[in-house]
Symmetry: C2
Subunit: 556 residues, 2 copies
């Protein structure tokens, strides 16, 4: 058994996942040991132009890597595992997860050539591990992906519980209930602090059971006469199972379209999470050989992604399948915030080609996150002394804090933390003890963190009004214009239709240069800023636009 | 009375407002006459980078302007009046609207220097006008702005009805009900075709009364102990009235912050749509002289616009008022699709500074558009022979079409039209008769239509990976490099952190040029495309990014 002293003082903080939806990453730290729970990514905000994904700033971990012991993954969603490859490149420690989680992680690591170097360790809800000196156990929760866990950190001051993403499903598809009995035992043992999922903290009531979506899907299958195309999140194995069951019941064969859908189905069947006979599946190129009412197409694209299987099949850009009038398309997913427009565009497009579209309120989607009643149940089972609402934007954390108050948590014991803000537990008492470096690391192509505010500012400027490059060659000796000025514009105006404007701009530049020369202003930086000012003012007056102006002066 | 012959053949089509939310514009055309109902704008989609607003393509109207007789505006929202200034510059005809509509229009026209040239004509629900030979009457509807009308076009074949934006409010704030009696008379006279608002065609039930939001607002006013900040759409005069009433009841004075809010309140008080004593209002700089519980701030910014009064007050960027802990902020509006993220950001920010925020499900907003029960009521009152669902994306038109079928309209008589698709009525029978030019005209600064696909494509490329300008000066005689190559990057990478990459890129360009010279390739276009290819390949390999590459070759 560990000595009390070694983890007397314990600190908890988030490097991501608070004040935002996405890139979940929570850190537990004692004087000897540090470990990480979840290592998620986030998709870029609208103003992060050209950025592919965003991960948390882990410089604190890198600086303290001699104490860094483990990464624990609660489940296999991108916003909990997606940053892993970037982290393992900098700090290689054992990674713990359940079967499906590790299956998905393996695939990611293979892609990045990191599989062999990584130390992946399988756990389940009954595992007990140690991160350095800190004992850790787990409990099962329900969520929109199988094999989801919550985490208990056993400190001598009491247990610190992190729920992961969770809901309480009273009729789970695989019959595996969230561990209410275990949770009530943990509560009795004494919970020092609870970190709990705030995603649906603003929603009253209870999140519908995953099973209810199966009923919704079955209904559509019973009614449809033509082909059925169904899309959901590839990782939602339970929903995929229910779609498969509905297809079987109606004697329909299934073609799987889309890389990530195929991948997850392979992994899930491999590890026994998905049950279906081989002969149910057909190759996509055989779809047209069957009668329409014998066909189901299970595909990616529930978020309206332009390159996804669904969009390509709808637009006639898929090699083997084209969605046609008479087909029924089930979108068994809600738009993730920010994707509303692209989802609505694909729905519109499907209606226009004459397909029947089933989405939204037709009972074919259920959230994987518990609503207020479930969050209250978690609070009441665990009766934590301290409470840190996580997973969510600030207003969701705030709403969750109010629920905790209702559940009897002392308002002074509720911490609505921002990224990097450390809560220290010492002798059973918690206090805030400063902030570690934290923030967004932007990944664009192969570049990790080489796109920052200046680059983004330039991209924003360029995206709004384009760029004008002004090139002029000057005589090294007398400063006279040897050639140019030439003005090249991109993303500003149609050159064809704005010849006059650009000609006039050209004259302004020449005049400015001559004026500078006559006043003996011949430092390049002054010349450039003069050109920029004159041109900027002129163009704004004429067009009310502010293109980026890039003067280039050559000397010969 | 008009001769039957003159409007025997009548055509109806939309130049905007179908297949989309926004820029409503409907055209009615006989062989002699054309008129327009509504002239709206739309805010740009995400992929219309740098564009300020979007209006419909009216080239068909301009081409046929000798027959163009009138513009009728159903109400004063931007998506029904915002394109007017651009249209009047090209075709100047009388503009009809109710008091508030014309008040708002006047203000727009003044801004653009068009007021004096314009012929604005006041109408109300009992007016009867003629557009050329075509008689037109009106009926009152409920909507989120006072003075909203529907339009009846009286043709010998039957009446063509356009609802405008509408709901049926059983407890309207101003006691003015939608004209159910008149509608039922119109229905008895015989409706040839109905064009009806599809915005909420997917929502079951009935839209809540505007009065219910007043109750929600009043409740918040009764509970709040500090200052109250309330924001809504500036044009929602009824909601503003209810906020004013709530403030009066609690003996709070009101400061109005934000240009458009001030403007609408002035206009609405002027024309008697808004009732409140002068002494209720205080200057914004007097706010801090009063006790907190005596203050209401009525402001713009319900959509989280970064430059709005609400955002500036929240961020401490407003000269006179700063929102503080203890203030209650009521956001009495829903986010318009596409604004969800910016609204959620301002809510988060307000919570973080300690303000109480009231929004969403707290009964402080009601849609101005009727839901399914109301749409059914309209259909049942008018019993149209033909039906054209308008105002909405295609899936909303589709849902509205299904409602019309339920209401007994022959499915073959329902037209789900796209922009420009003309429906012709001849001898009481309708058919589709081709398409007129239609589409988006993008307005960026002062430019109308000078930003098109190529400019947008360039802006998109620039926004994703930035630009690299490569400048080199060659000797005119022997093609040798006189100076450069110099590489300047914007929005691509931090130069400081990528010196090696850019140096190597530089060498590649020099090598390419030398190779070209040795092979006697010396046409500029070939040199440029060689530079572009080599550099593009190299940068993609190193960074997986594709910046725009702009080679500039000078000769001396």
């Amino acid at each position: 058994m560990l000595s009390k002293q070694s983890i007397e003082n314990i600190r908890v903080f988030a490097l991501g996942g608070v004040g935002e939806i996405g890139k979940n990453m929570y850190i537990v730290e004692s004087d000897e040991d540090i470990f990480m729970i979840d290592a998620g990514l986030m998709f870029p905000e609208d103003d992060m132009l050209g950025v592919d994904v965003v991960i948390p700033d882990i410089s604190y971990i890198v600086q303290n890597k001699e104490r860094f012991r483990a990464i624990i993954l609660t489940h296999g969603h991108e916003d909990h595992i997606g940053a892993l490859p970037y982290i393992l490149r900098k700090v290689n420690v054992p990674v713990y997860g359940t079967k499906l989680t590790l299956g998905l992680v393996e695939d990611h690591l293979k892609e990045k050539g990191l599989r062999k170097k990584s130390d992946l360790r399988l756990i389940d809800e009954d595992s007990r591990i140690k991160a350095g000196q800190i004992p850790i156990s787990f409990f099962r929760v329900n969520h929109s992906i199988p094999g989801s866990l919550g985490v208990c950190i056993h400190s001598p001051q009491g247990i610190i519980v992190y729920t992961g993403d969770f809901k309480f499903d009273q009729t789970p598809v695989d019959g595996k209930f969230a561990d209410i009995d275990k949770l009530s035992h943990i509560g009795k043992e004494g919970v020092l602090c609870l970190l709990s999922d705030s995603t649906n903290a603003e929603r009253p009531g209870t999140s519908p059971s995953e099973t209810s979506t199966g009923e919704g899907i079955k209904e559509v299958f019973q009614e449809a006469e033509g082909r059925i195309v169904i899309t959901t999140f590839a990782s939602n194995v339970h929903r995929i199972q229910q779609a498969i069951d509905a297809a079987r019941q109606q004697q329909r064969r299934i073609a799987v379209v889309g890389h990530s859908m195929k991948k997850v189905i392979d992994i899930a069947r491999d590890i026994g999470y998905l049950h279906c006979p081989d002969e149910l599946f057909i190759d996509t190129d055989k779809v047209n050989d069957l009668d329409d009412n014998k066909v189901t197409i299970l595909c990616t694209g529930s978020q309206g992604e332009p390159m996804s299987a669904l969009t390509r099949m709808a637009k006639g850009a898929h090699r083997q399948v084209t969605i046609e009038s008479g087909d029924t398309v089930i979108i068994a997913a809600n738009p993730i915030p920010g994707n509303e427009k692209s989802v609505s565009r694909i729905i519109d497009f499907l209606y226009q080609i004459g397909a029947e579209v089933v989405y939204g309120d037709r009972n074919v989607h259920a959230s994987g996150h518990g609503c207020q009643e479930e969050l209250m149940l978690m609070l009441n089972l665990l009766k934590p002394t301290y409470f840190i609402p996580v997973h969510g934007e600030y207003r969701m954390q705030h709403a969750h804090g109010e629920l905790a108050e209702k559940a009897g948590v002392d308002p002074d014991h509720i911490f609505l933390v921002d990224k990097g803000e450390r809560i220290e537990f010492d002798n059973g008492k918690a206090k805030q003890v400063g902030k570690v470096p934290s923030g967004n690391v932007l990944i664009d192509g192969l570049g990790v963190g080489d796109v920052g505010n200046i680059v983004l500012r330039d991209r924003r400027l360029l995206s709004e009004d384009g760029i004008l490059v002004v090139v002029v060659t000057l005589n090294k000796k007398n400063g006279g214009i040897v050639s140019g000025p030439d003005i090249i514009s991109r993303g500003f105006v149609y050159v064809r239709e704005s010849e006059e404007l650009l000609e006039e701009a050209n004259k302004k530049v020449s005049a400015t240069l001559e004026k500078c020369m006559s006043e003996n202003i011949n430092e390049w930086s002054s010349l450039k800023s003069n050109i920029r000012d004159v041109l900027s003012r002129y163009l704004y007056e004429k067009t009310k636009r502010r293109p980026m102006i890039l003067p280039i002066i050559m000397e010969v």
